[in-house]
Symmetry: C2
Subunit: 537 residues, 2 copies
């Protein structure tokens, strides 16, 4: 059996960063992890040095059973974290040895087990339909049995805060039963998420004083206070925090792992993960969003793309002087970066700063900057947005500076044909007519959808003339319907992220026709690559 | 001049819910309000009974100047809120009477003014390039001048918490200068958003004791604690909270108005808005997201579509018995509702509960439910999601129960032609061949884009046969690219929200061809309407 405590983390077993993305996080509406996803998530979390990774509920969910089997078979080697299986205590009136779910926990081979226990008398009586004595016996029997089998056991006291407010003695008895039977940590869970930090901190202090047990905290975000509640609990003495990546979880979600780590490390000076992990938080947060297939929250604290983005014209000029006066931490600490947004509010100062970021010398070109500001304003009024499309903005700026050569190609026309045939087959075919390298080229290609076909036809036309054509790949393709004009005739904004294996760049296209919007973004993507190729030549 | 205090709110002038969506919220990346938008936002906010609406910065932003002009001209009649203009103090070394920006505040005719004042010595010296004496004189002069002109004045002490930690005496002097000159509230701003609730609460207590002034709070969400910090400040004695709708704001955003109101009303028992407003929070939150052109955060506390959505199979069965054990408040309180999500994790119990929600009797039909569960699982594995598409799910369930009649029409084939012509014109044209009412119908129509054209052709084909056809409109159309398969050949999920003026329903379609995915969702939308028409007949 492998490790039961964190390894290589500065505070060792003294403070637990316990991640439950794969169990409680998977309850989020919209998340469906495959087993391969789960293994990838666990590796990323281990990479930033969390102490525990709760992998799921073996025996209850087939995918989770398989996850633990594949982990035990060697597919998951953890450097820092101990692997945790989640499960419930034995059923009422059943011997613990005979309980199938408890058996599944042992079979999972996970060295650490988190048992969920009811700790609210109403839940014991109304949902579990048993009494407090039997509930405590269920907790104690199961903890004792698993400990005897060599497992380290934590107990999640479900609905603890509501239960403690309703009948404190009952809730404390459940904790005591767990502690006496050998549980290492009792985790106070705000399962319904209704707590606020001041009261929650007081309860944690009180519970620790009355039980003498090691206390953990598990918060849901229903009051928008999950992170604050977690931090308040730590300040009250909790030494085990249960979080999920990006706050994924049921309803409003859980305490966000990245904000909790960010706060503990940068605000409270607690080195809860290895020092070199902190700068990985942004990258890992985004990678985990990708695996969950959820667009990253651009406004997420610490790790969001906008977390250090400044829009205000007021600030933009002052930021040039003293960036550290306008950020609560140096964004680089958490692997993020400062950005200045180009918008109508920011005006000239932001655009100049942006130009500097892009390596353009705008200082002596007030007219060009003025024209660029005007152009950006006009386009934004029509639904364009350059905030995420640096490459398109750079093309626009360089164009105003007359720094651009001829575009790599010009379009004469394109046509896309999309057939849903009588036999059910669906075919997309595109023809482009372009001028490239002094020639007129016509090319036709098929694709899965209209944009795919158009992209394929364009590549076919350009390939003989542009040697770098095949190095450029589409990394991501995002569509946003601008709901100013509801219905299918709405304006469509397309963001295309391209990569040549070395760089990534994003371009934008806007049109009320989604195919044309995509075409504009694709053209910018290739124009940007061509510009860089020429600059290097 | 109009009102300077909240009207018709239970706590009157004793507690201020101060909304700054139109000023600080507009700093959020991606938000661009038109003047008409701003007027609509203000009306919605007034409708839920906030006490103050900060409309913008007249004189600095032309749109804001126009907003105040149109408001003063009678386009904005506020029932509850007082209108506030935001601006800065006079410039260093300038007479207050001669300061253009101060003049613009008076010209705005807003009865209340919020002045932003530097309260961090580093900002005074390094960004403002003046000294503490002159800074305090700037604050005092401007407050006194505006008060003399009949305005009520609040002072936003910018960067207060960082400044207070660095040089408390300097920060307190700024507050005192504001208070002595006649400011009614000094607002402590966590401008960089780096605070945590416990410390912030202590600082508020300390500042109130040392100054004796009425204190407000303005929090940014950079530690993911803006809501918690706001609540902690209120618990420490602050009686004025500055928030933005949905937490919109620069970087990680501001304290979310809806979570703050939800917490104050339901957790702390403070009736900070009129009693009948609380049930409007969800509707208004979503309406404000629409105006901001930002997809509502489904996981937002209190008002998110998922805020009371339960996915866990474990819970789903218990929720049937006792819903109030699983929600921190009754969702109806804030105008939200409980939902049970149908997913692989929830299984049979959830689907049965969902069936009950839809008015289907599934109890005696275990086979049909089993088949439906299997079908949902298979489709979800291929990228479908029924969590937001109740109408498609209902069709699937009724189909398994053999309760559906023939579909209203069947497709033979369709063809979409999309031309970007040499003259730059872009034309989309669709032809559908369908069987409806025993006839084969062929129809062709044009549209702005491929889906619009297809929708138009289908309507044209069906109109003579389905009398209700024209009552059905598309209310919203959402596209999500599933990034399992990056690039333009990714799988596309389309959600279509339809309305017949009376009901709204959502359907889903998934395909690697965006047009076919849209087609599937459109067909479900019409099939659902046909089903309801038959049920009523």
């Amino acid at each position: 059996m492998s490790r039961t405590a964190p390894a290589g983390t500065p505070l060792g077993d003294g403070f637990h960063v316990f991640d439950t993305t794969l169990r409680d996080g998977a309850q989020r509406e919209g998340i469906t992890y495959s087993v391969t996803d789960k293994l990838a998530v666990a590796r990323l979390l281990d990479g930033i040095g969390v102490g525990f990774i709760e992998g799921g509920w073996p025996g209850a969910l087939p995918k989770d059973t398989e996850f633990f089997a594949r982990a035990a078979a060697g597919e998951l080697e953890l450097k820092h974290a101990a692997l945790v299986a989640f499960g419930s205590t034995r059923k009422a009136g059943v011997n613990v040895e005979d309980d199938q779910q408890v058996r599944a926990l042992l079979d999972s081979k996970a060295p650490v087990v988190t048992l969920v226990a009811k700790s609210d008398r109403r839940h014991i009586e109304r949902a579990l339909r048993t009494d407090v004595d039997e509930n405590c016996a269920m907790v104690a029997d199961t903890v004792r049995y698993l400990v005897a089998q060599g497992r380290r056991v934590f107990v999640d006291a479900e609905h603890f805060f509501d239960g403690y407010a309703y009948d404190p003695e009952c809730s404390l008895r459940v904790l005591q039963a767990a502690g006496e039977a050998g549980a290492d940590v009792v985790v106070l869970c705000d399962t319904n998420g209704g707590q606020l930090p001041v009261q929650l901190g007081q309860t944690v202090t009180e519970v620790m004083a009355r039980t003498g047990l090691r206390v953990g905290i598990h918060c849901q975000d229903d009051t928008s206070c999950a992170v604050a509640n977690t931090i308040a609990a730590v300040q009250a003495g909790a030494t085990h925090v249960q979080c999920t990546a990006n706050g994924y979880g049921e309803r409003a979600g859980n305490a966000d792992l990245f904000a909790v780590i960010g706060n503990l490390v940068t605000k409270l000076g607690m080195p809860v993960v290895p020092a070199d992990s902190v700068a990985e938080l942004t990258r890992v947060s985004h990678a985990l969003a990708e695996i969950a297939n959820i667009a990253p929250d651009t406004h997420q604290a610490y790790v969001g793309a906008s977390a250090f983005a400044h829009k205000a014209g007021l600030h933009a000029s002052a930021i040039k002087v003293d960036p550290d006066l306008y950020n609560h931490i140096d964004p680089v600490t958490v692997g993020n970066g400062m950005r200045v947004l180009v918008t109508e509010m920011a005006g000239r100062a932001s655009l100049e700063l942006k130009g500097r970021e892009l390596g353009l010398d705008l200082a002596g070109r007030p007219d060009a900057v003025g024209n660029a500001v005007q152009k950006v304003k006009d386009l934004e009024a029509r639904g364009w947005s350059f905030e995420a499309a640096d490459a398109s903005l750079e093309l626009l700026l360089r164009n105003e500076l007359s720094e651009l050569d001829e575009p790599p190609f010009t379009l004469e026309s394109y046509r896309v044909l999309l057939d849903h045939r009588q036999d059910g087959a669906i075919v997309s075919e595109a023809t482009v007519k372009v001028h490239v390298g002094g020639e007129r080229v016509i090319a036709t290609a098929e694709g899965n959808g209209p944009v795919h076909a158009l992209d394929a036809a364009l590549r076919q036309a350009l390939r003989p003339h542009l040697s770098w054509m095949d190095s450029v790949e589409l990394a991501d393709y995002k569509v946003r319907i601008l709901t100013d004009h509801p219905g299918t005739d709405a304006i469509t904004r397309v963001l295309v992220e391209s990569t040549d294996g070395e760089h990534e760049w994003t371009t934008v296209g806007v049109h009320n026709n989604i195919v044309e919007a995509s075409w504009l973004a694709l053209c910018d993507a290739l124009a940007h690559k061509a510009m860089r190729v020429r600059a290097l030549a």
